[in-house]
């Protein structure tokens, strides 16, 4: 554990071990379960699928300064799938953006923390989200501003896969390539499920690589729960100058980490209480086991 020795106001880009990141992903999942109980409901499974992506970005890759949240040269992160905010808040608290005990009143009347993140209320949130389909356009605006200001930070945007049915995503994809926004990196949390079922049954999004390639994007496809792969892919990004934007399609498992939630439709929103709560916490404590569920592509 190197957390205690991290200079919290230094630019990130830290050398952290995969073991450390795996521990932080466990922390994200457990906090999601804890906070959901306070709210009485939570987006468990959409957050679990993104846990490794979030920790790899925040603990290893993003150039950020928790004590200077508005640092103009910081990397930007847009949580376009805003319903995974419950997994991001604990990371921001852990890194020192705000006091962790503030989360104890998660979603209570007057809390800065809602199911979807509010940039005006929560330090470290680069843009408010919740309405799916908007985030990539925000990223386009961030990238154009960076270019006008001659800054070389990157803009990361985490998209849900069901969200890709929104037309505005493809307006943004077209414009990002047109404006040659090489600083823009989209990551698709390809967990396979939207609320009504498998994306390929509800509104098919595949073939994703070909679709983004058709929009003149660089594409990568990885295992979104393999921290080594995530880090290697983030480390190998092309330089953030004038050039094609990059999309990382991260194949994930919705609900990853809790067997009864993996690939299950009925855990998009849920509430764990009583014995179920304790059982799930124990299961998470034990760490990730191989998943038995695989979504069709």
């Amino acid at each position: 554990m190197t957390r205690e020795t991290t200079d919290r106001n230094a630019s990130m880009g830290r050398n952290v071990s995969v073991d450390y990141l795996a521990d932080r992903a466990k922390f994200v999942r457990k906090e999601t379960v804890r906070l959901s109980r306070i709210a009485g409901a939570g987006h468990y499974s959409s957050t679990f699928s993104a846990a490794e992506i979030l920790v790899a970005l925040y603990y290893a890759k993003l150039k950020i300064r928790p004590l200077e949240p508005n640092w103009p040269d910081r990397d930007r992160f847009v949580l376009s799938k805003g319903h995974a905010a419950i997994g991001l808040y604990p990371i921001l608290a852990d890194l020192g953006f705000f006091e962790a005990k503030l989360l104890d009143d998660y979603t209570r009347l007057g809390s800065p923390f809602g199911d979807h993140p509010d940039m005006k209320k929560v330090k470290g949130i680069d843009f408010s989200s919740g309405s799916l389909g908007h985030g990539l356009s925000i990223g386009v605006g961030f990238a154009l501003s960076a270019r006008m200001q001659s800054r070389d930070h990157r803009i990361f945007c985490l998209l849900g896969d069901g969200e890709l049915a929104e037309g505005q995503i493809w307006e943004a994809a077209m414009s990002a390539a047109h404006f040659k926004l090489g600083s823009l990196v989209a990551i698709v949390d390809r967990n396979g499920l939207c609320i009504d079922g498998n994306t390929e049954d509800v509104m098919s999004v595949e073939p994703l690589e070909e679709r983004f390639q058709g929009f003149s994007w660089n594409t990568r496809r990885i295992d979104g729960h393999d921290l080594g792969q995530i880090l290697a892919t983030l480390d190998a990004l092309p330089p953030p100058g004038v050039g094609p934007p990059t999309v990382i399609i991260a194949d994930t498992v919705k609900g990853r980490g809790v067997a009864m939630m993996e690939g299950a439709l009925n855990w998009h929103v849920g509430n764990l209480v009583g014995e179920d709560y304790d059982t799930v916490m124990k299961e998470l404590d034990a760490g990730l086991k191989p998943t038995t569920w695989e979504h069709s592509q």
Binding site: S128, S137, Q168, S175
Partner: protein
């Protein structure tokens, strides 16, 4: 008034677009009879502002020539972005720019900005209180025979119900310049509604005492008050002259800012004049008339009417014919005022 346009006489009027023909008090810089089209000053004014302010950026959706933002593009190509026909992406990207320290002006037809992008305006611009300037031109029925897809008769109702969004209508080119100059350091987002962007002049020059939310009393009178906004201010002034010929003196107010509304001016009109008629190029549901009525509900009872587009979609027609059809030209406004007073 519903049904097809029966009287096409107004289609032959001198000013095809305003419907006010030869009666238009189009001011001319050099005092020559004004028949020329007023300039669309948007791009030029923004470029002038950008000269000393690096935060200004301009974007449009495949209408750079139509709205003259091309003049900005020519002077500041690095701060101009044509998003093509993708308005929602443009508005949300503008919000991203505003969150990065820029002051973006996003311009396109009102129908595709206030209506198509209503949710992006609410969620991405207003909710985070970002200084995005949404320039909605060709509002109302000014697109005439392009039809309902290109009309915007609902945008004021939608925009003024969004918390923290300043909604302002440009009376003419001079007032547009005032609005744009004031907009630079105005906190929060703005919806700036234009007519065709080439509307007849009401002001000789940008008023130096212009303030958002502070309406302008353009004409004095105590028999009634005409409260107009945007491109309807000019024909309302002409209507007041026609009423004066009938011995009726009308106060005329340019209510350029719809939100926040100048309630003080409305209460004064209620106290000091005998009737109030609102005049707007908008559905009478939810627009200026409704906003004024919300203030008047707390005032003593007085004759009040909303003049605008009834709750219907406008027929196709040249703009001038449509203005006549809806009695939104000066003769129509004067006639409606007389009805109110009887």
């Amino acid at each position: 008034m519903t049904g097809p346009v029966e009287d096409n006489a107004s289609q032959d009027q001198a000013d095809f677009f305003t419907g006010d023909g030869g009666n238009a008090l189009i001011a001319s810089e050099k005092g020559t009879p004004a028949k020329r089209m007023p300039a669309f000053v948007l791009g030029e004014e923004l470029a002038d502002i950008a000269e000393t302010d690096p935060r200004i950026a301009v974007m449009t959706a495949d209408l750079a020539s139509a709205n003259r933002t091309i003049e900005f593009q020519e002077r500041y190509p690095d701060r101009f972005f044509d998003f093509g026909i993708a308005e929602k992406n443009m508005v949300t990207a503008a919000a991203g720019m505003a969150a990065s320290g820029h002051i973006p002006y996003a311009a396109t037809f009102a129908s595709f900005l206030g209506l198509l992008c209503a949710e992006q305006i609410r969620t991405d611009c207003a909710y985070p209180k970002l200084p995005v300037r949404l320039v909605a031109h060709h509002s109302g029925i000014s697109m005439g025979f392009y039809g309902t897809s290109h009309h915007a008769l609902e945008d004021l109702a939608m925009m003024r119900s969004i918390a923290g969004l300043t909604v302002v209508c440009a009376t003419d080119a001079a007032l547009l310049r005032s609005i744009l100059r004031t907009s630079v350091d105005h906190p929060g987002p703005m919806y700036i509604r234009l007519g065709r962007g080439r509307d007849p002049d009401v002001y000789d020059a940008p008023p130096i005492d212009f303030r958002l939310g502070k309406s302008v009393r353009l004409r004095e009178g105590s028999d009634l008050t005409l409260i107009a906004t945007g491109a309807q201010v000019h024909p309302s002034l002409n209507a007041a002259e026609q009423l004066a010929a009938n011995g009726i003196e009308a106060r005329v107010i340019d209510m350029h800012t719809i939100s926040p509304l100048d309630a003080e001016q409305i209460r004064a009109a209620a106290a000091e004049t005998n009737a109030i008629l609102t005049v707007e190029e908008h559905n009478i549901t939810g627009g200026l008339g409704s906003a004024v009525a919300e203030v008047l509900i707390d005032c003593d009872r007085l004759p009040f009417a909303r003049h605008g587009i009834p709750d219907e979609f406008a027929p196709v027609g040249p703009p001038a014919a449509l203005y006549a059809h809806y009695r939104l030209d000066s003769q129509g406004i004067a006639a409606r005022a007389l009805e109110l007073l009887q």
